[in-house]
């Protein structure tokens, strides 16, 4: 946008007039309201274009997409709630341990011979309670969420390791259960979990854009003092975002266990950096107040695709990290140029 920062004088508002002369047109308005996710989509399409050109044969087969779609939902359940936390002006680094912890509860319930559905309820409750604990510690003790949630991540993972002594839990009974058919199987070559993942993204996008919760999350991240003056319970809104992350982490844990039929004490660890990268590649800025759920979901798609794509394009696995970094940096530059920051 041409009228980027601090429109304080009459002159800048005149530039705004030019930039907004088409504000009435629905198409222009759509573009303007969705600059970040559209930019992320463009990054994805360019990346896919490069992969397709590099190796048309591999990338015109459905198999490669199916393998990405199988594991992508786990990332979606993590990335989308993180968009809420980052928008509220905080960060949560404890979600990998929360994911492992919730999935642990799921595995224990199933291992004890109870229904997987009961296991799902137990895992979701665990995730939300852990989110509540993490959020309350950050908000009510007034701590830096960056450091406090990092500490919580170590601590929760530590509890898992102390109790399980590093032993995994095999859940072979799951492969026969109807729960697996509903949440993690194949329908006409499409993994069912992606349907749940997409449903979660759509619901969350509405929550973000069309719900009081989303509106207040943005205001709290934008200007907490004003929010307080206008009667918003800033602390409560922040705690709620952490509870939402706990909920998403539990879902991620449940789905990853349903995919593998095994729970590992390290479950979730590998998602810390990719999930965070997805949020920012998706177009949610670090400073709070604005963000995009759909962009975050596309960001997760990009990050999930890089590994498969780099190898599929014929490069060795040693190139994966380099391309990961390249995409992150290029996306950030793109978003900086694409989105104006208002103060």
């Amino acid at each position: 946008m041409t009228h980027s920062v601090g429109a304080k004088t009459g002159e800048t508002s005149a530039t705004g007039a030019q930039a907004f002369s088409g504000a009435e047109h629905p198409f222009t308005r759509f573009i303007d309201a969705n600059r970040a996710p559209l930019g992320t989509l463009a990054v994805f399409l360019v990346m896919m274009g490069v992969f397709l050109t590099a190796n048309p044969r591999v990338f015109s087969e459905w198999n490669i997409y199916r393998s990405v779609l199988t594991t992508l939902p786990v990332a979606l359940f993590l990335v989308v709630p993180l968009v809420f936390v980052v928008t509220s002006g905080e960060i949560d680094l404890s979600f990998p341990a929360t994911m492992g912890f919730s999935a642990w509860m799921f595995a224990l319930v199933v291992q004890a011979g109870f229904s997987p559905y009961l296991g799902i309820v137990a895992a979701l409750a665990t995730g939300m309670i852990l989110g509540l604990i993490v959020g309350s510690i950050v908000v009510y003790f007034n701590l830096s969420s960056l450091v406090a949630t990092l500490g919580m991540n170590f601590m929760l993972r530590g509890v898992i390791q102390i109790v399980t002594e590093g032993k995994s839990i095999a859940l072979t009974s799951l492969s026969q259960s109807p729960a697996r058919t509903i949440f993690s199987s194949d329908v006409f070559g499409v993994p069912t979990q992606i349907l749940w993942g997409v449903a979660f993204v759509v619901f969350s996008a509405f929550l973000y854009n069309r719900h009081r919760f989303g509106a207040q999350v943005k205001i709290v991240g934008d200007n907490p003092d004003s929010a307080r003056q206008m009667g918003i319970d800033v602390d409560l809104v922040r705690v709620k975002t952490f509870v939402f992350v706990g909920f998403g982490a539990a879902l991620a844990g449940i789905f990853s266990t349903l995919i593998n039929f095994t729970w590992w004490p390290t479950a979730g660890d590998g998602y810390l950096l990719p999930a965070l990268a997805s949020v920012f590649v998706g177009g949610t800025p670090t400073w709070g107040g604005v963000g995009t759920v759909v962009g975050g979901a596309i960001g997760a798609l990009i990050v999930s695709f890089i590994q498969t794509g780099v190898v599929g394009a014929g490069l060795s696995g040693f190139y994966v990290q380099f391309f990961n970094g390249l995409i992150i940096i290029l996306s950030l530059i793109g978003h900086r140029w694409n989105q104006a920051r208002y103060r």
Binding site: A7, G10, G16, A17, R210, H211, R212, S226, A227, Y342
Partner: protein, 262 residues
């Protein structure tokens, strides 16, 4: 005689041993614009914070429509129909005009889903009411794109949404250009035309002189002058009076007399 909206009687406020206000009485009628002026440290801020219920007076009485109110606080103040637009305006600049107007009181259905269409229509009505119309901006425009005066308009629109009877504007023209100030004056006149009262606090005496029906000059925690617009010849006379009060060369009585002579 106009209806008396709010009356402060002998309000005193001390911070420790320092008196910020030493017995101030002030009344505001319905549909009236009162200009509150005074030097730094005169007690203007303390007075409006007391009106807004943010600060409790040490002693004194507050009457709303002739009835004394006990336990005055921020909630009571809003119940009484008082909305305060503080100096920093309390806007979330990365959000749309609608989101700012409905900040903290979003129009939502039973499950918290926003009634966006209704919010936009309401915002449009409020913006029209204060004369904040533009071909350029819609209620969905981001506040960060607006100029200072327009941002002030959003803050005022938010204040009148609560059906406020009295709007307190704390230094609304500070750091604004001439055209932006004119815009704010336009909003203020529209609010006045709708029958609401305004307490206008300003550093710039010319601005206050242009807009107010009545002037109250505070000096070191006391009312130094209360005068109708008809009684004051010009902004310069008001400034001269304030300088006299601050650095008396003659007796205040004689300077007040010179102010009123026309």
């Amino acid at each position: 005689m106009a209806e008396r909206l709010i009356e402060l009687r002998n309000i005193k406020k001390s911070f420790g041993r320092v008196y910020a206000l030493g017995g101030v009485s002030l009344s505001i009628d319905k549909g009236e614009v009162v200009g509150l002026v005074g030097d730094n440290g005169a007690g203007k801020s303390t007075l409006i914070k007391i009106l807004a219920g943010v600060v409790k007076p040490t002693s004194g009485e507050i009457l709303v429509r002739g009835t004394p109110v006990s336990g005055w606080n921020a909630a009571r103040s809003r119940e009484a129909g008082i909305e305060t637009v503080f100096q920093d305006r309390a806007l979330a600049v990365q959000q749309s005009i609608v989101r700012n107007i409905f900040m903290g009181r979003e129009l939502a259905g039973r499950f918290g889903w926003l009634k966006l269409g209704r919010e936009v229509r309401e915002a449009q009505r409020l913006m029209r009411e204060i004369g904040f119309t533009s071909r350029v901006f819609t209620p969905r425009s981001i506040v960060g794109q607006l100029s200072g005066g327009e941002r002030q308009g959003v803050a005022i629109a938010r204040a009148i949404y609560n059906e406020a009877d009295l709007i307190i504007l704390d230094e609304p023209t500070t750091a604004l250009s001439l055209t932006e100030t004119a815009k704010v004056f336009h909003f203020v006149r529209q609010v006045k035309a709708s029958g609401r009262s305004i307490l206008f606090i300003g550093h710039n005496i010319h601005h206050v002189y242009d807009i107010a029906d009545r002037f109250v000059v505070l000096d070191r925690g006391a009312v130094a002058l209360e005068a109708d617009r008809a009684e004051v010849r010009s902004a310069e006379a008001l400034i001269a009076f304030m300088e006299d009060v601050a650095h008396p060369q003659r007796t205040p009585a004689s300077s007040a007399a010179s102010l009123r002579a026309s």
